[in-house]
Amino acid sequence: MRTRILAALLLLAMAAPGRSEEILVFAAASLTESLQEIGRSFERGTGNRVRFAFGASSDLARQIRAGAPADVFFSADTAHMDELERVGRIRREDRREFLGNSLVVIVPAGSSLRIREPRDLLALGRIVLADPEAVPAGVYAKKWLQAEGLWDGLRSRVVPTLDVRAALAAVETEAAPAGIVYKTDARMSKRVRMIYEAAGKADIVYSVARVSDSRKRAAADFVRLVESREAAGVFTRYGFVVRAAS
């Protein structure tokens, strides 16, 4: 596996001679560890430097729209890519919908709370999720709860956070008795326990594109590496569902 990554990087390095570049990658918070790992191999293999800013896709998209000097954008949804495409910050042909994920209900590791069905969530005093009005993880969670007919009952008990990792942290520190995050986030943490998986009930699609006015070759190279089979191995290891090339 590792040798294959190195071989792929070697090819990239040979294809892109010249001086090394630094690229700025804006990415959904849920991709933090997986992209950092891929970024490290990219730096080792190409001599380029990758700087990440992780956060809520909605927030990052807003910043890119306002002119933030990002070279590549990873969104946890497609809606924010659509928005950036509409204003000309990314091009349709550069977009790839490359990953899937699912939602889980989590509680602190020491909690004895159990739920058999989504309805049991109504017994909770508070539930933390990424801001359901904007942040993809929260928007997906709201959609799921609406589909279950639970949103109206729960909405007053929802504590919105800035991004999905902040929701995870709130459950980890037992600031909230339960939360809804991505399965990949829950798997990262030993301090939370998954008690329900909303598998297949929300269509979660991650997309990536280079920002249209980035002139850096390394930006396109990085996207190519992310789409490679080698990167797919990394994402799978973190629990993402790698989508077939579109």
């Binding site: 002119g67 990002a70 520190t173």
Partner: protein, 227 residues
């Protein structure tokens, strides 16, 4: 202290220093004009200049953001000139400069107002121009108030959060200052790492205030012993 803690500290110090230095000439000029100006509209101008003190920082940030965004009035010009400000370190400088400007002007103006007008008159009667009198009479007499204002402005720039996060985002290594990093680390549950930064800010704040206190005391003793 980790390497990233140190680089966050250095970035914050650098940005706060650039911000404070860049408002210094304008702030002193504004303080001087306000101290001399007795005409109509003075109160309105003073109020306007003090607004960033009273407004929520996020409100100031939003106004700056809208002005500088690519479709905004200033943003379009800057874009054409190829100048990038938003979400770069320059945006941090701009946001902190605007937020700290009144903190420099108010004490500086008060100090300049206290300069005895007779001394200024004597200076003028000796044939010095207004600027010469300002640098040779007013400034040496009012320096303590100006220093206090400068320190206040620097402190505000050092810790500014609301306006900064709106116009500069929270990009590690580029725009993430101590205040933003503390917030971000808390958000992702790294409280211990956030506390390391809190400790750093306490050290820096203590050092800055202590140095100024000592400096002021020494200079005032020196001034008194002068014939």
């Amino acid at each position: 202290m980790s390497a990233s803690d140190l680089s966050i500290l250095l970035l914050t110090l650098r940005v706060a220093a650039v911000s404070t230095l860049s408002i210094l000439p304008f702030g002193i000029a504004a303080a001087w004009l306000l101290s001399r100006w007795k005409g109509r509209g003075k109160v309105s101008v003073e109020t306007l200049l003090s607004l960033p003190l009273v407004l929520p920082p996020t409100a100031v940030g939003l106004v700056l953001l809208e002005m500088l965004t690519r479709s905004g009035p200033l943003g379009r010009l800057l874009d054409r000139a190829g100048v990038e400000i938003l979400f770069t370190w320059k945006a941090v400088v701009l946001a902190t400069a605007v937020m700290s400007f009144p903190l420099l002007v108010r004490p500086a103006r008060a100090a300049l107002e206290e300069v005895d007008p007779r001394l200024i008159g004597i200076g003028r009667s000796l044939g010095h121009g207004a600027f010469d009198v300002f640098t040779k009479v007013s400034l040496p007499l009012a320096w303590r108030g100006i220093l206090a204002g400068t320190l206040l402005a620097f402190s505000r720039a050092f810790g500014e959060f609301g306006a900064t996060i709106l116009v500069a985002g929270n990009i590690p290594g580029r725009t993430q200052t101590l205040a933003l990093a503390i917030f971000h680390r808390t958000q992702i549950g790294q409280d211990a790492a956030a506390f390391r930064l809190v400790a750093l800010t306490v050290v820096v704040a203590f050092a800055a205030v202590w140095t100024t206190e000592v400096l002021q005391r020494r200079r005032s003793r020196f001034a008194r012993s002068e014939p």
